[in-house]
Amino acid sequence: MTPNLNLWLIPTLPLAGAAINGFFGKKSSRGAVSAVGLFFSGAAFAWALSVALRFSSLELPYQEYLAHWIRSGNFTVDFAFYLDQLSLVMLLVVTGVGFLIHIYSVGYMWDDPSYYRFFTYLNLFMFFMLTLVLANNYLLMFIGWEGVGLASYLLIGFWFTKDSAASAGKKAFIVNRIGDFGFLIGLFLVIQHFHSLNFSAVFEQVRPIAPETAGAGLLTAIGILLMVGACGKSAQIPLYVWLPDAMEGPTPVSALIHAATMVTAGVYMVSRSHLIFERAPLALTVVAIIGTLTALFAATIGVTQTDIKKVLAYSTVSQLGYMFMACGVGAFSAGIFHLMTHAFFKGLLFLGAGSVIHAVGGEQDMRNMGGLKTYIPITFSVMLIATAAIAGIPPLAGFWSKDEILWKAYEANPVYWVIGAITAFITSFYMFRLLFMTFWGDYKGINVDDHGHAHAAHGHSEHGHGEPHESPMVMLAPLMILAFLSLVGGLVGIHNAFQHFLDPVFGSEFPKAVTEGAGNTEWLLMGISVLFSIAGLVLAYTLYVAKPYLPQKIADSLGRFYSAVLNKYYVDELYAKIFVKPLVNGSTAVLWQGVDRRVIDDTVNNAADGARHVSDEVRHMQSGNLRSYAGWIAAGAAVVLAYMIWRGVAR
C-alpha cells in the first residue's frame, strides 16, 4: 500500500513563494519578503523531510501523476513525478541546503535595494531545480534544466547595472545553450528509438540491450550527447568557462546555484541515465576522461587565483570533475556521494567567503585580507572545517567521498587514480592557501586605505569602514549547520552504507570481479591520498605563512608557464578567437548587412516606396473637379461599350 505523497507540493511551494514575492514584494517590507521566501522554501524542505520519513514504507520507484501534457499518437509526456533513492538524496540536498542559503541571504542581502527581487529569483530557482530532480521523464527534466539556467542567468546578472555582471549572465546562458543543444539531440534520438521520454519506459527498453563493446552504436551516441548537455550545465571541459565568470552574482547565489545544486544537475542527469551509459563503454570513457582532465585542469588554475570567489569557482569545477570521473568509471553512487558532501562543504565555503567579504566590506582580493582569524573567529572556524573537508582530511565529509571515488577510479584504471590523487594534492594546497592568505598574517585591508587608494569594489553593501566585523547571527547559523554537516556528513559512507542505500537505483548488473587483497590496496591508497592532502597543507603553510616571500620567487622562476596559468591558460581568449569572433564578424557581414539589410529591410522598404510612387501618379485622378470625374465616368462607359460592341462584332 503506497500512500499518496503529494510530491507536486515540493516544487510548487517555492513557485508560490516566487509568485507572491514577485507580484507583491516591491510594496512589502523586507520582513514580509523574507517571511514569504523563508516560509515557502522551508515548507518545501519540511515536506521533503516528511517524504523521507515515510520513505521506507514506499514501493519504489514511487511515481505520481499530476496532469497530462503532450499526447501525440502513442507518444505521451505527462507532468508526473518520480521518486527513488537517487531523487530523495537530491531532494534533501536541494531543499536543505537551499533553505539554509535562504536564511543566510536574509542577512547578506538585507541592504540591497532589490531585496524582494533576489528572493523571487531564489524561490524560482528552487522550483525549477526541484522539477528537474523530481521529473519522471526527460522532457519535464529538461524544463527544470532550462529553468535553472534561466534563474542562474537572472541571478548572475542580479546587479545588472554592472557591465561585467550583465555580460557574465549572458555568457553563462549562451555557453549553456551549446550544452543544451547536445542534450536535445540526445533526447530526439531517445524519442526516435524508444518512442518515449519516460524514465521507466526508456530504461525498460534499454535494459535488455547488450553493452556496445564492439564499437560505437546508438547508446554511445545518446550517452555522448547527454554528456555534452552535462558538460554545459556542470561546467566541464570544454564548456566550463562560464562558471568562474558567474561569480559576479551575489555570494549566496554562488553558493546555492554555482556550487551546491544547479551545477550538479549534470551529474544527476548522467547518474539517472546510468543504464544507457553502462551499456556504452565508449561514452563512459569519454565521461571519465573529461571529468579527470577537468579536475586537474581547473585545480591548477585555482592555485594562481587571488579573488577568493574565483578560487572557489575553479575548485567547484575541479570537484565536479571528480564526480564525473566517478560516473565515468561506473561508480555512480560514489559520484552522488561526493555531490552530497560537496554541497555541504562547498556551500559552506562560499557562504563563509561571503561572510569574509561582508566582514571586510566588499573586498574580494585575498591579497588585501589576511589576519582575519582574530576579527571573525566563528567564520574562521567554519572555514577551517570546510577547507579540511574539501582537502580530504579524515574524518571530514570530503575525505570519505573523495576516497571512495579515488578507490573506484583505481579499480578502473590506475591512471585516473594518479591524476585524481595529484588533483587532491593541488586541491589541498590551494584551499589552505586561501585559508592562510585570508586568515593568517596581518590584516592588509586598512593599509590599502592608508595609502589613499580607492577601496576596491564595495559591491552592494556600504559597510566595511574600519575594522572587519563578524556577520550577524542570521548568517552564522546556516554556516554552523553546514559546518556540522561537513564534519559528519561523510560518516554515512562508512561500510558503504550510502552506496547500499543507492544500490536499488544503480544496481550491480555488471558486477566487477573483486580483486584479491583489495582491502589492503584500498587502505594503502587511502593512506597515500591522506598523505597527499597533508602535503598540500604543509606546502601551503610553508609558502604562505612560514616563508611568504617564496611564492613570488617560484612564480618568477616559472616565467611563461606561470603567466599562462594565471591567465587561465588563455582559454577565454582562445574561444574568443576561434568561436566568438568569426561568429560576430560573420553575423555582421552576412546576417546583418546581407540578409537583414539587403533582403528583409529592402523588401519592406521597396514595397512601401513602390506603393508610394504608384499612388503619387494615380492620385491625380482625384482632382476634386466634378467635371473630370464625369469625364472619367464617360470614358469608362465608352470603354465598356466599345468592348461589348467589339465582342458582339467578333461573334
Binding site: 476634386g624 473637379n625 466634378l626 467635371r627 464625369a630 469625364g631 464617360a634
Partner: protein, 100 residues
C-alpha cells in the same frame, strides 16, 4: 416602319450631346440642361424598345424617369438660385469652396 436602330442611334446621339455638354460647359444652367438631354436620350431608347417588343414596362419606366427629372429640376433650380444669390455667379469652376 422606322427600324429600331434609327431610334437607338438618335438616342445615342442625344446622350452623347448631353455628356459633351456636361463636360465642356461651365454655366450651371447649361449643365443642368445637358443632364435633361441625357435623361431624354435614355427615355427615347426605352420607348423604342417598348414599341419594338410590345412590352409596356419600358413606357412605365419612362414615366418614372420623367418624375425623377421633374423632381430634380425643382430641387436643382432651387439650389441654383440659392447659389446665385450667395455667390453671384453661375460658373461652376468658381463654386469650389470644398476643394482643397
Amino acid at each position: 416602319m422606322v427600324p429600331l436602330s434609327y431610334y437607338l442611334l438618335l438616342s445615342g446621339i442625344l446622350f452623347a450631346c448631353g455628356v459633351t455638354g456636361f463636360l465642356i460647359k461651365r454655366n450651371i444652367i447649361t449643365i443642368f440642361m445637358s443632364i435633361e438631354l441625357m435623361l431624354n436620350g435614355v427615355n427615347l431608347s426605352f420607348v423604342a424598345f417598348a414599341a419594338h417588343w410590345h412590352v409596356l414596362a419600358g413606357q412605365v419606366f419612362v414615366f418614372f424617369v420623367m418624375v425623377v427629372a421633374a423632381a430634380e429640376a425643382a430641387v436643382g433650380l432651387a439650389i441654383i438660385i440659392a447659389v446665385y444669390r450667395t455667390r453671384e455667379t453661375l460658373n461652376v469652376d468658381q463654386v469650389n469652396l470644398l476643394k482643397l
